[in-house]
Symmetry: C2
């Protein structure tokens, strides 16, 4: 693939990971893991507000993690590639090992329920 010079590959990879690195987006990806869903279904599944979900979905679609499929008045989204699900699965495995550390990690603390 042709790569514009000046854009480091790590920057791209970091952007890719960023798609997974937010609880809301991750929730969407997890929900889509079991099949395509419409925006409304995603809203219901994740508890996100409709504008918020829509915004994250745009982000995920732009970044190539999900596919947008308009179906009449609805819009269906699904994971672009099995590798997206594979990444989620692998992260889950890894989380089993390091969960304690992640839990205690001080450097990033979104208001976590409590």
């Amino acid at each position: 693939m042709l790569m514009t010079p000046g854009i480091k590959i790590d920057t791209l990879k970091a952007k890719l990971f960023r798609g997974f690195a937010d609880p809301s987006r991750l929730g969407i990806l997890e929900a889509l893991r079991y099949g395509p869903l419409t925006v409304g279904e995603i809203v219901a599944a994740t508890g996100l507000s409709q504008p918020n979900a829509s915004n994250h979905l745009s982000c995920l679609a732009d970044c190539g993690l999900v596919l947008r499929e308009p179906r009449g008045r609805f819009v269906s989204y699904r994971l672009t590639d099995e590798r997206v699900a594979a990444l989620l699965a692998l992260a889950e495995e890894l989380l089993g090992e390091v969960a304690k550390g992640v839990y205690e990690c001080v450097h990033y603390n979104p208001t976590e329920g409590e």
Copy 2:
């Protein structure tokens, strides 16, 4: 594994991904992919400032992605688990598929070289 109620699993997973989702941290992880390095070597390999590298390393260590091993006056870091490297590899594969989308993604644009 015992999980404190009130902390959603997705929040943890998102925090885990966040370790990979910054160009500086990702650069560090990539550098460590080929073996343990001291802080000084990491600074040299990544071009980060020393305080900045040290700070990201603390974050990565807290989150369980890297191991801290003091060796006299030096501190050696290495990846905690092969799965960390596996995640990097899988992301690389996925990037091959979606690179174009990630490149064009508007929703996250750190000052990218130019």
